[in-house]
């Protein structure tokens, strides 16, 4: 945590030092039209005018955002970019109030909430990541689970690890009679929304709790704050199981299960299997897509998308130019950095459409 805060301070300090010297130089990013000025990946882009882009929202994509912010502001020292986290719902509320220039979200705006926004907004898919089903069983190294079994475990119907349903998924494993401790999120979360959405898609009969940022979990389960809180419960409790995003699960040293995908194959969560899930997803006209329970033999079925949301209308020219350049960087060079923080980059089919959409940001 200390590290990430320090990282966020870097651009701020740099800007403070350089604002004075860069004040006189007028920006030259006035090429209207094709909107392709920022997608060149090697040549350094034109210097942007000094401005600040404040962001907030999804904590799921925060590690990626902080990395690209650091890289982008190193190239464009006159631009200050912040990302405050707070959750997808917080980000959407901030955008409605016009408090932020860009926000991150894992969940899409509900139709009844569209009127709360000040104008038309755009979704930019940036990266994706697997949600792992992590568990703590010292004796079992390679657990396999099907969607129905996961649904029954998280609904509290399967109470011990040697249950017949788990045995059916793992015919060769020697499962202990340990009780299962289910760990879920304490606070409303986009990770919960995507995990439960997966269960409604893949186990429509076994899963009855519906899908939302929080659901009515049965009694006797454990709850932790944020992905790291759930990871901590799984880490500390023998016989525990929980859903944790890939980078937090790796950071906590957890073991995760292979999940049976729509093609009937058991696939372990990894950046490659997440990218495979993205390739099979269909992208809507507004660039939203759903890689959950995706088809494809190599696809990891619980792959969560995440988006950046901005208003299409940006009257301030400095903000508009910086926003376009920053989005261009996220979808360009930023994709290479995704892997270093355990996110899967997008396939070219989605990237091309997302880059083309940058042109829709106008005055």
């Amino acid at each position: 945590m200390q590290g990430s805060r320090a990282r966020m301070l870097v651009p701020l300090v740099l800007t403070l030092g350089l604002v004075a010297t860069a004040c006189g130089s007028s920006s030259s990013s006035t090429n209207k039209g094709s909107g392709n000025g920022s997608s060149s990946t090697t040549a350094p882009a034109a210097k942007l005018a000094a401005t600040t882009l404040n962001g907030s929202g999804s904590t799921f994509q925060q590690a990626f955002d902080e990395t690209v912010i650091q890289e982008f502001t190193a190239q464009q020292p006159s631009v200050t970019i912040t990302y405050a986290g707070g959750g997808s719902g917080q980000g959407q509320t901030d955008l409605q109030g016009g408090l932020k220039q860009w926000i991150g979200t894992d969940s899409l705006v509900k139709p009844e909430d569209v009127a709360k926004y000040k104008g038309p907004f755009l979704y930019f898919p940036t990266v994706a990541a697997p949600i792992t089903i992590s568990y703590n069983l010292s004796a079992v190294k390679d657990l396999k689970l099907s969607a129905d079994t996961i649904a029954k475990i998280f609904e509290g119907q399967i109470k011990t690890w040697d249950d017949a349903a788990i045995k059916a998924d793992n015919p060769s494993a020697s499962l202990p009679s340990t009780g299962i401790t289910v760990a879920h999120r304490a606070e409303p979360s986009g990770t919960t929304a995507n995990f439960t959405k997966y269960l409604t898609l893949a186990a429509p009969t076994a899963w009855t709790l519906g899908t939302d940022k929080t659901v009515a979990w049965p009694s006797g389960q454990q709850a932790g704050n944020a992905n790291s809180g759930v990871a901590q419960i799984v880490h500390d409790t023998n016989g525990a199981i929980g859903y944790v995003d890939y980078s937090d699960a790796k950071a906590a040293g957890l073991v995760f299960a292979s999940i049976k995908n729509a093609g009937g194959k058991y696939v372990a969560p990894s950046l490659e299997s997440a990218t495979a899930a993205l390739a099979g997803a269909t992208v809507a006209a507004d660039l939203t897509y759903n890689p959950l329970n995706a088809a494809g033999a190599a696809a990891y079925p619980i792959t969560s998308p995440t988006f950046v949301m901005v208003y299409a209308s940006q009257p301030d020219p400095a903000v508009r130019a910086a926003l376009k350049a920053f989005l261009g960087y996220m979808l360009g060079d930023g994709q290479q950095s995704a892997k270093s923080v355990d996110f899967a980059g997008l396939p070219d089919s989605i990237l091309t459409k997302a880059k083309a959409q940058i042109a829709k940001i106008g005055a």
Binding site: G87, T214, A216, S219, I233
Partner: protein
């Protein structure tokens, strides 16, 4: 407000200089007093106003139902109220004997040179931010306690009543009990310091009288110190309870975030303030309104506890006065 000021103040140069200052002082003090009431009334009004939508849509179920599922518009808060009350009661049961003990030790038993350092250390507990207690609770205390809870459960598992009380479903470090323990540590400083102040007001003559009759130190404490300080003690406990009922972030971290009513102290629960802390950022519409409504419930809960305790103190004081 019984003022015995002269109704016809002197005018002109004969007027003593103190009069004006007196009046200014009275006005300022009156405004300060009134400000508290105004702020309280405004808080109550705003909370009620903002929680009206959910009260209208769920009605009495809001306080009598324990079904909480925002995605299906079910906003029953009984399980949270239950968790708030249970964790606070555990805290009182654990903290009050210890606090009274510390207070007695520092006023009656400890050598003079030891009293100041102990008081200072106990007060230092109050200076620790609650999030630190919460993080310590969830990272250190909760994992360490799970085994202890298990042993405790095994010890009493056959006993009716206690067996259920010391059970969990399953037994976990994040539970009513852990929340109560953390709260107990948090309210100990305030209860101790009020108890200490109260014990210090016991007249030396009353203590000397008990000693003169041949009382041991414990008999003296029972006969002279306790009767004299009963209302002060109740006030201290009350303030401690008020703090426990409203404590937010420490409880949110250790109670387990599971909205269920259960007599099992070692299983996960939830409290009103903890739900508000966890959900407020993401909540919208009726959900947000339901969270604000919980503020009203905490408000009322603290108010009711205050009234009950005050009536009790008044009755005890009347009885003590009657006996004397």
């Amino acid at each position: 407000m019984t003022t015995t000021l002269d109704p016809t103040p002197l005018a002109g140069p004969d007027r003593p200089p103190g009069r004006t200052t007196d009046r200014v002082f009275r006005t300022v003090v009156f405004l300060a007093g009134a400000l508290v009431l105004i702020i309280l009334a405004l808080i109550a009004y705003t909370l009620l106003q903002a929680s009206l939508p959910v009260l209208r849509s769920t009605g009495l179920d809001y306080v009598t139902s324990d079904l909480w599922d925002p995605s299906k518009a079910a906003f029953g808060t009984l399980a949270f109220t239950y968790g708030t009350v249970v964790s606070s009661l555990i805290a009182l049961v654990l903290a009050v004997p210890v606090s009274v003990g510390i207070a007695l030790f520092t006023t009656e038993v400890a050598p003079q040179w030891l009293r100041k350092p102990i008081v200072y250390l106990v007060d230092l507990l109050a200076a620790v931010p609650s999030v630190v207690y919460g993080l310590w609770g969830v990272l250190v205390l909760a994992p360490a306690l799970t085994g202890f809870y298990q042993n405790w459960h095994d010890l009493f598992s056959g006993v009716p009543g206690l067996g259920t009380l010391f059970d969990g479903a399953p037994i976990s470090g994040r539970s009513f009990m852990t929340a109560g323990l953390i709260l107990a540590i948090m309210i100990t400083p305030i209860v101790t310091s009020i108890a200490r102040e109260t014990f210090a007001t016991v007249p030396q003559s009353a203590k000397d009288a008990a000693h003169a009759l041949g009382a041991t130190r414990w008999e003296m404490i029972r006969a002279s110190v306790f009767p004299h300080s009963r209302s002060g003690l109740v006030a201290g406990i009350l303030i401690g309870l008020g703090r426990a009922l409203g404590e937010t972030i420490a409880v949110a971290l250790v109670i387990g975030a599971s909205p269920h009513i259960s007599g099992r102290l070692f299983s996960s629960g939830y409290s009103l303030a903890a739900v508000i802390a966890n959900d407020f950022g993401e909540a919208q519409g009726d959900w947000k309104s339901a969270l604000i409504g919980m503020g009203v419930v905490v408000f009322v809960l603290t108010f009711v506890v205050g009234i009950v305790a005050r009536t009790y103190v008044a009755r005890v004081e009347r009885r003590v006065a009657g006996e004397a």
